[in-house]
């Protein structure tokens, strides 16, 4: 019995931290309509700031906490609102989402540059380490008591602020109807700023509280604060009491699983329950969300799709690429040959995102999980490296894609993004990190396919082969875009309600494009595995997915040329990193800054270049910069 109570205490304490972080997320989302994916990274950043002050510089903990919560976090919140969010006013949820993801990567990059990437050997001690009290025959550490008291205090303060103060009441009113609120004279900027400051401060508080309980490294801390997302979804991103209850529930579930599920089972199947379980929970919560009603959004005129490339141009482009790679196979050094090959494989994976995100306007944050499924199928099926294995890689990934998308296509886009994130995290911890499945010490070897008469083992032949595969995929994606299905995808991202009123089955179309995209990612996985040889969990991390997605947004999410550029950048950035020692996580920093700089260019760098080229030829180019994008139903909290 006393074991049960100790698990309960641990669970409630962890859950209280999730509740704090989730309430911050909810406050920001409810007042600004932006789901802050950088929430976890902000918590991580605050935890490291605290470590720097309290552990490295021996500042009094109370003073350090005051500095962070009263100075650093509010400043950061106000800065985020002023620099990043204000110019996004009226932009699509998709675009706001990309900017917060960019912020997350920047914070990760800065933190790893300042504090190093290896897990810290000198961690943050819990508050009053070693002190505990006995309650009901169970030892409760003072740290846990402080966490609980803080959570209660946060709940009370939020309640009083939101119900009793002018700004608080205005913040709640914004939830009901932002337009009406603006008409009634409430200053939207002040409310948005308050929303960001409150959210960031709560993220920081949660980060500081949880840091002593886990390994002090950037990724773990960032991802563990993300566990709060599941709690926020229980409260449907707007109900604070439910959010608090959800946080506690997740904490308890986690503690009981760690406590009661047999150790051997955990080692084999659940290597990291604290990070895997909340994600499963998040997925289940999305399953039970009510169906989103299609509705007309009203006249929002924005053309977001660049001129569609014709068959002639795309074939010419493909031929040029293959010729260039054939030349490269002769003149490039071995290292560069494999870098370009890797770029082409990432290009194929990026093409899967062009279909899904570029054309259909659906966001997947965990595309590398489908890549991983493809690589695994290629490595294991039919002895590995067979053409049947390649087909199976595509088919199985597509099928897994359907399973992930099926419960989420009936809710709004943000939840699909969250579900893909949850799936990718869960797959990472339960599948890719599973030593039973990845039986060669956490990795498996994937063979390359063989063509009759050509040996693809050499990197020159592989480079040419991959350029042919990428070209075929790109020509195929463009052909699809010009056809019935492609028109439907674009129509669907412009107005699902209008699609339905002309007789299109919105869900079936979304499901189809998700399956197609996952299948293409699976093909990318089979090729990726073949190129790398041994693959392991780190290849398929969520951060890899996010980096590739944001690179694609920077280059042009609606263009196969953008996919090629994004893929090549993905391969080249780590090479650049090896030449720059004074900064770590260069790819994350470049991508984060890039996505914020590209900001509202709907078609990225490639789109900008295409417009410039057309203008050079004397054509009239309609400005596509700075036009407000569609305000999706989800941007406003109903």
């Amino acid at each position: 019995m006393s074991a049960f109570w100790s698990y309960t205490v641990i669970g409630v304490a962890t859950g209280a931290i999730y509740a704090i972080t989730a309430s911050g997320l909810v406050v920001t989302y409810a007042t600004t309509g932006v789901f802050n994916f950088a929430h976890g990274a902000i918590g991580m950043f605050a935890a490291f700031s605290y470590w720097e002050l309290a552990v490295n510089h021996h500042v009094q903990p109370v003073l350090a906490i005051a500095l962070i919560l009263l100075v650093e976090a509010p400043l950061l919140g106000a800065l985020i609102e002023y620099v990043l969010m204000r110019r996004l006013h009226g932009a699509s949820t998709e675009r706001a989402l990309m900017v917060t993801l960019g912020l997350m990567l920047i914070l990760l990059g800065v933190a790893s540059t300042v504090w190093g990437t290896t897990p810290n050997q000198n961690p943050i001690p819990p508050f009053f380490a070693g002190h505990s009290v006995r309650v009901l025959g169970v030892n409760v550490t003072v740290h846990q008591l402080i966490v609980l008291a803080t959570a209660v205090l946060v709940a009370l303060v939020l309640r009083v602020v939101l119900r009793r103060t002018r700004t608080g009441v205005a913040m709640r009113a914004v939830v009901d109807d932002p337009d009406l609120m603006a008409m009634a004279g409430a200053p939207p900027v002040r409310i948005a700023r308050a929303g960001w400051i409150a959210g960031v401060t709560l993220a920081a508080l949660a980060g500081i509280l949880i840091a002593p309980l886990v390994t002090l490294d950037q990724t773990t801390l960032t991802l563990i604060v993300i566990n709060g997302y599941a709690a926020a979804v229980i409260g449907r991103l707007r109900n604070l009491p439910l959010t608090f209850a959800g946080g506690i529930l997740i904490g308890l579930g986690e503690a009981y699983v760690v406590g009661y599920v047999p150790q051997s089972w955990q080692t084999n199947w659940l290597p990291n329950p604290t990070l895997a379980l909340p994600m499963a929970f998040l997925f289940v919560m999305i399953l039970v969300l009510p169906v989103e009603r299609l509705r007309a959004v009203g006249e929002v005129r924005v053309s977001r799709v660049p001129t569609v490339t014709g068959l002639g141009t795309s074939l010419a482009g493909a031929a040029t690429l293959v010729a260039a790679c054939a030349l490269g196979a002769v003149v490039l050094s071995g290292t560069w040959r494999s870098t370009v090959s890797q770029g082409l494989v990432f290009g194929v994976i990026a093409l899967s995102l062009v279909l899904l995100t570029g054309y259909a306007g659906q966001v997947s944050l965990g595309q590398m999980a489908f890549v991983g499924v493809g690589a695994y199928a290629m490595g294991k099926i039919d002895g590995g490296g067979s053409w049947f294995g390649l087909l199976a890689a595509v088919g199985i990934s597509a099928a897994v894609g359907v399973l992930v998308a099926l419960p989420t296509i009936r809710v709004k886009g943000l939840y699909l993004a969250l579900a893909t994130l949850a799936f990718a995290q869960f797959a990472y911890y339960v599948f890719f990190s599973n030593l039973t499945l990845f039986d060669d010490n956490g990795s498996i070897f994937v063979h390359r396919v063989s063509l009759p008469g050509i040996r693809l083992s050499g990197d020159a032949a592989e480079l040419v082969f991959l350029s042919v595969v990428f070209s075929l995929c790109a020509v195929g994606v463009l052909a699809l875009r010009r056809g019935t299905f492609g028109r439907r995808l674009v129509a669907l991202s412009d107005s699902p309600a209008a699609c339905a009123t002309v007789g299109l089955n919105v869900r079936r179309t979304r499901l189809a494009v998700f399956a197609l995209s996952a299948g293409l990612a699976g093909l990318g996985g089979a090729l990726y595995g073949g190129l790398q040889g041994p693959v392991s969990a780190t290849d398929f991390q969520v951060l890899v997915s996010l980096t590739l997605l944001l690179l694609l947004v920077v280059w042009g999410v609606r263009s196969p040329l953008g996919a090629l550029a994004a893929g090549l950048s993905m391969a080249v950035l780590p090479v650049l990193q090896s030449h720059v020692s004074w900064v770590s996580s260069l790819p994350a920093l470049v991508v984060g800054v890039g996505v914020i700089a590209v900001g509202r260019l709907p078609n990225g760098v490639v789109g900008l270049a295409a417009d410039a080229a057309r203008r050079h030829r004397g054509a009239v180019v309609r400005p596509v910069v700075g036009v407000p994008e569609a305000v999706e139903g989800g941007a406003r909290v109903a």
Partner: protein
């Protein structure tokens, strides 16, 4: 339409019928016990002041809004609980008061999405005859009066009245049996409005059932064979245009503002927010 009047129409002639429809948004009763019938081969008008619930009724009829009470019948088929896409496949098309176009596509492609909506791209038969929709997209755009040189331009560059024509063409592209038009004539000048009226009469003569929401009273009185007047979520009058025009309740609620002392006047322009 009053219940006695409804009893006069043979069921087979009614293409779309709503009965006892009520919708509530929070504290606002948007529609209350609305009965309406749209007969085949005729144009039925739906008029009423702004905020009377006309667009909400359209949403209920096409399936975008589920009513709190009441039923919708498409022909003899009860469709109250079916989705908008299913109703569209059964032959119901609509346009929107605030345009709901595919802004990233050209005018022709907008219509093509409608024309191809019955195409099942995963079927082998589609692969064999790719892109051959049953409907001639260019002819359809010409029929609604869009200049031929505008077919290829992205719709976000079109003026609102022309974009409206594209939406009409898109609705017609699914070859509907019932057509719901939400203010198709707003922004049109007199000759254009007359041309639209001719087109609607032509469509009705071909057997289509049309429900028309319109503030242009001249157009409504010319083309509609029956009118329903909606005010504050309730049908306050139904009948022929002459009957409705003479109804004192209708004058009080709506027409009084438009026909002072029985004199015809156009509805004042600029009643809708224009977006850049």
């Amino acid at each position: 339409m009053s219940r006695e009047a409804a009893a006069l129409l043979p069921v087979a002639d009614v293409a779309l019928r709503a009965s006892g429809v009520s919708v509530r948004f929070g504290g606002v009763q948007a529609l209350y016990d609305v009965d309406i019938e749209v007969p085949r081969g005729a144009i039925t008008g739906l008029i009423g002041p702004n905020g009377a619930g006309k667009t909400t009724l359209f949403d209920v009829l096409c399936g975008l809004q589920r009513p709190g009470a009441g039923s919708v019948f498409l022909g003899e088929r009860q469709v109250t609980r079916t989705g908008p896409d299913h109703r569209a496949r059964l032959g119901l098309a609509r346009t929107f008061q605030r345009l709901e176009l595919f802004w990233s596509l050209s005018a022709a492609d907008n219509v093509r999405v409608g024309a191809e909506s019955s195409v099942q791209w995963w079927r082998w038969s589609h692969l064999r005859r790719r892109g051959h929709a049953r409907v001639d997209v260019d002819a359809l755009l010409a029929r609604v009066g869009l200049p031929a040189d505008l077919a290829g331009v992205p719709v976000d560059t079109l003026t609102t009245d022309r974009a409206r024509l594209v939406e009409l063409a898109r609705a017609l592209a699914i070859e509907p049996a019932v057509l719901l038009l939400d203010e198709p004539g707003s922004g049109l000048d007199a000759p254009e409005s007359a041309a639209l009226g001719d087109l609607l009469c032509e469509l009705a003569a071909g057997g289509m059932a049309i429900l028309l929401v319109e503030h242009d009273m001249e157009l409504v009185m010319r083309v509609c064979s029956r009118l329903h007047v909606l005010d504050a979520g309730q049908v306050i009058a139904s009948g022929t245009p002459e009957e409705v025009r003479g109804d004192p309740a209708v004058r009080d609620a709506y027409l009084g503002a438009l026909f002072p002392e029985g004199e015809h006047r156009d509805f004042p322009a600029g009643t809708r927010p224009l977006r850049p």
